[in-house]
Structure formats: C-alpha cells, structure tokens
C-alpha cells in the first residue's frame, strides 16, 4: 500500500501510526472537557489508557477492538480497584505523598502479577510477553487514581474515573478504525488540523453540553424583559 512520503523513509508503520495518533487523542480529551464537559484525570491518564487498550488489542500484528476493550477494561478495573484497596488500607497511616503512592503502586503491581500468573495458568502466555510495557504504563495511572481518591469522596472519584475510561474507550475505538488509520497515514498533514481544532476549543467560551443540563432550569425560564 502506498501511503505518503513518510512511507518511503522506511519508518515502521505501527510506530508512525501511534505517534500520529497522540495529538488526536489529546484533542479528544480537550473537546471532551471543554465542549462536552466530561472530566478526565488529567491528560496523561486517558492517553496512556488509550495506548494501553491499543497494545492489548494487537493480536498477531492486527488490531482487534473487541480484544483490546476486553483486556483493557479488565486491567484498568484491576488497577483502579487495587488502588482503592491500597488507599483504604493505608488511610490511617500518616505519610508523605510519594511513599504513599509507592505503596499503592506496589499493591497494584502485585495485583497485576496475580493477573499474569492467572493468565499463564489458563494458558494465555501472550499476555505477558507482548504487553508488559503497556501494563506498566497503565499501572502508573494509579497515581492519578490515588490523588483523585485523596481529594474526593469515593463516589466522585469513581465518576471521574469512569469518565476517563469512556474518553479512552472512545479514543481507542477511533484510532483502531482501519479507515481512520489509513487516512492519517495517507495525509499526515491532517495533524495540522488538530492544532486548528485545539485553537478553537481553547478559546471556546460557550456553555459545555453538560452545563446545558446543569442549568436547564435557568435556561428554560422565559427571558426577563430588559
């Protein structure tokens, strides 16, 4: 298949693709927050989770979104739950922030080792060999979870986490679309478009879609005579 000039330079297509998708995912996160009103745990968490899903969905060099979502959501849930468990276990200890996150990361790592052992037991060895960097990156999101749990009530933290998950799922489904991949590889200049989109999102002053719901009662009363 003939893509663009980038193809002729003999760069690995997958690496190229993943790099080209970075601004796309970041743009989605920006739109989600400022236009839709869906919060995420920073920019880092949704990007890392998206790539994590992508790595887990690679089966024999081909992207399978169903596999990616299945494993991806399973792993992120394990990470989130072990963070909640870790946080509640050491809640009573007075500690500095970094050692606290380290302890939680240890608990998360142990949980993931448990998952790998279990996967090996049932014969899914490809899990550990292909995706270990994806798993480590995803595990590092535990820091965002911890900080969110420290500041909010469990319910609020859970909602923000779920919103982060949904942004990642959406981004993942988009970047795993074969037609979208082809489009970006053929016209890498399209990336300039993300800068333009972000310029406008960055200056958007209107109500977020979620705010239309939040303020629906005020929005729905007849305007007063001026």
């Amino acid at each position: 298949m003939e893509y663009s000039f980038l193809h002729n330079l003999n760069i690995d297509t997958q690496s190229l693709l993943l790099l080209l998708m970075l601004p796309v995912i970041a743009t989605i996160v920006g739109i989600a927050r400022h236009v839709i009103g869906v919060k995420s745990l920073g920019l880092y968490a949704p990007i890392v989770l998206t790539y994590g899903f992508y790595a887990l969905g690679l089966v024999g060099g081909k992207q399978d979104p169903i596999v990616g979502l299945k494993y991806g959501l399973f792993i992120t849930t394990i990470i989130f739950l072990s963070t909640v468990l870790g946080t509640s276990l050491i809640k009573r200890w007075r500690m500095h922030y970094y050692p606290k996150v380290s302890i939680i990361l240890s608990i998360v790592a142990m949980a993931l080792i448990g998952v790998l052992v279990f996967a090996a037991e049932i014969g899914k060895t490809e899990f550990s060999t292909n995706n270990i960097f994806a798993l480590i990156l995803m595990a590092s999101v535990a820091e965002q979870f911890t900080s969110s749990l420290a500041k909010n009530k469990l319910k609020t933290a859970l909602i923000v986490t779920l919103e982060t998950f949904s942004i990642s799922i959406l981004s993942y489904l988009l970047i795993s679309l074969e037609s979208f991949q082809k489009l970006i590889l053929t016209y890498p200049y399209l990336l300039i478009l993300t800068i333009i989109i972000n310029y406008f999102v960055g200056r958007y002053r209107g109500l977020r879609i979620r705010e239309y719901f939040r303020f629906r009662d005020i929005l729905n009363t007849n305007p007063e005579e001026e």
Binding site: R94, R205, F215, D217, I218, L219, N220, P223
Partner: protein, 481 residues
Amino acid sequence: MSIFTILSNRNNVLGMNQRNLDYIRRFNSPRAIKIADDKLLSKKILSKANIPNPKLLGYISNYKELQEFDWNKLPNSFVIKPVSGLEGGGIEIFYNRDRQGNWIKADGSRVSQTNLEDLAADILDGKYSLHNQPDKVFFEERVRMHKAFQYYAYKGAPDIRIIVFNSIPIMGMVRLPTKESNGKGNLAMGAVGAGIDMTSGVTTTAVIGKSEHISYMPGTKLNVSGLKIPYWNKILHNAVAAQLVTKLKFAAVDFLIDNVQGPLIVELNARPGLSIQLANQEGLKIRLRKARGLKVQSIEKGIRLAKDLFGGDIEEDIERISGKSLIGIYENIIIYPKTSSVNSKLVEIKTKAKIDTGADSTSIDEGLAIKLGYEEELIQFQQLKKELNIAAEFTNTKEIVDAATKLDAKLQELANPFIICSTPIRSSHGRSLRLSILINLKLGDYTFETKATVFDRSQLEYQIIVGRKSLSKFLIEPSRT
C-alpha cells in the same frame, strides 16, 4: 421545553469555560489570586483595612511549631482550618472543652489533643490543599450564629456568599447547613443554597444539593424564601471593600454573621463556583455584562448600582414573601351578586373602590346592594327597626349599644345567612345603626367574603369603600395607581 428559550437564555448563564477565560484569567492577577488562596494572608490584609473577620488565635507553619504548640492557650471554643484548604476540607469547629481536656464538636463527639495534633499534621502534609502541597494550620475564634438563622440552620452557621465584580455586588447566596450535609455549608453534601434579592437582602429561590429546587427547609414547613439576611447593607459594603483591598476584580466573598460582631469575612475566593446561579434561578453572565465597564467611584455607588440593576421586582417579591397582594388606594373591584338569589338575572358589578385604612369596616351603597340582590335584607332590617322603634340617630354611646343589642337579637331570629348584624357607626352624620351584610368581592388577586355595612352613598364619590377588616390579605402602597 423550548429550544428557542434555551438558545436565547444561553447568553445569560455563565459557564466554566467563560468564567475561566473571560473573568478569572482576565481580571484576577496571579498576585491577587495568591492572596485569596492564602487565608492567613487575606486575613492580614482585611484586618489592616479594618474589614471585620474572625479573630486569629494562632497558627502552625511546620512540624517543629506543631511540637511546640501550646494547645492550652486556645480558648474552649475555636475553629481549626488549613490555610490553603479547598471546599471546607479539614475545617473543624469546637464548641467547648470537657473536664478531661477534650474539645467538643457540634455533634457532641469529643476530640483529644492527640486527635487535634493528628489533624494539624494532616493539614501540614497537604491533605486538604490544592495539589497536596504542604500547608499551614491556623486557628480563629468561633463565630456564634446570628439569631435570625436559628430555625434555618442545622448545627453549623449559614454562610453568605457575595459575588463582586468591578466594585459592584453581582449576586448573593446563603448556604444553610442541613442534617444531610451534617451541619456543613457544602451544597454538594446536601446543604440548602438560597438566592438573595440584592435590593432587600431577602431570600428568594433555593436549591438543595447541586440542583434540586425546594420551597421548604427539609423536614419542616419553614419557607426558605422570605428570610431577611441581617446586616445586608453592611455585608454588601464589606464585600466590595474586600474586593478593592485585595485587588481581586472578580471575587466571591464569604461571610459568617456573628451574633455580636455582625458580618465577618471568612474567606475570599478568586474562582467563584457557578452554583449560585441555580440558587438564584438566574444567570451570572447577564449581570456581569451589565456591570462591566461601569465607572464605580465609591463603594456606596457600587451598592446602589447593584440594588438598581439586580434587585428583583420588589412588589412581586413582597407579594410572594408575605403572601399578601399589593394594592393601591383606588382599586377596580368586582362585587358578586348575592349567591342564593332567586333572581338569576343579577350580574356582578365592576366598580372603583376606595381602599380606606381609616375605616374599620367595608361599606357599600344601598342602591348598589339592591342591584346585587340584597333588597330583601334591607327591607327586613327597616321593618325590624320600625317594630323596635329604633331611632335614626343617637346622641350617646349607651343608647346606641342598647339599641344594637336589641336589634341584633331580632336579626339573629331571622336566620338570614346574608345578614350579619347591626353595626353602630359614628360618622360625620352622627351616630346610627346600619345593617351589615355578607358580600363577595374580588380585590387584587383575591376573591373573598366580607362584611359590609349598607347605607346611602349615592352622594359620595365611591359607591364602596374597603375598610381595615377586609384588608388582612393586602399590603397597601399609596403611590400605586
């Protein structure tokens, strides 16, 4: 739900995007934001400008100071706070101290010195600060709740928030702690947020939690609207003064009202939340737009602008709050015909009435009463007067009272539901006994039954005057036409 209403209202409501870009980032300098974020610094600046705030009792900046801190120097009642706390996190209020030296919280639970040291250490560690940055602890006197809020607040004292922009108070809200919010004024936790009319300082609409509308305080029959915030003008004044002295151009100023000292500023906020719009059922944006670019020379001017620009329709407010209808001195009224009249041709009569608070009761013209179907009652009354030999006029009180008693006894025997009694009247014509009948009329927003004395008013300008006894549902505004 109309999409057009929503689209046209969209420009009235302030959203997060615009708040950040057009107001906070544009009008609040990093230096001013730093002052607002540091409660110790803002206290210092407020005190220097003589703007009342709760008295500072002490502070702890680091672990060394924590170890050396003499807890016994604190009074029995105080508040502990993080200097850079968010949304009320880490704040504890102590009301008293028991014999063992434990401090007592509002819910009666006891807190030992060790517990307090733990809390202070948590604060120092940054548990309650933005981005978990290391923080400081400070102590201030506890504000004793003002009596006005006695029935409205559960455990904690309500706080009043005023958003100020360009030296003009823009919008106000009072947060009333509830059982659900566990005595805290945090809306997300289930406190009640009530909007405040800028002119009168009286609460208007209210929400509980983040968005649910309510009319009554939870679990009571107490109307949330109609609560007059004490020291309203002083609150507005100090809010603007605080905004000026901290150089925040767009700020939320939070007050507690002390029973003795009056309003005290407890917090300045450089990033006002948007829920105040829900409590007031009105958008901030439309108000901010009006306030923008105005030259405000003095605090008094700013307050006057706020009252003129953002005060509600006072008449409407008074009516809603008092449940009374506002009327003028001359009102168009409708008098309905006698209800059980056999003559079905009778129609209601529209006429102009004089509202006369100098008159005890309502009085109606004889001719008008006949037109309304009360001829029978008038004839019965005249016959009885004749039978009992009752004079047309009286000279002294005893005579008239005796005559009225006699006449009333006979009137009762008639068992006519439309005849109430005979009423002694003292007028410019002298003293006389008149018939009082039951009439139905519509005045202002109300239709009601009332007693009316009948006599010949054909020579007078108004065929009916409405007196005090019929006006319990009304407020009279003499300048109204």
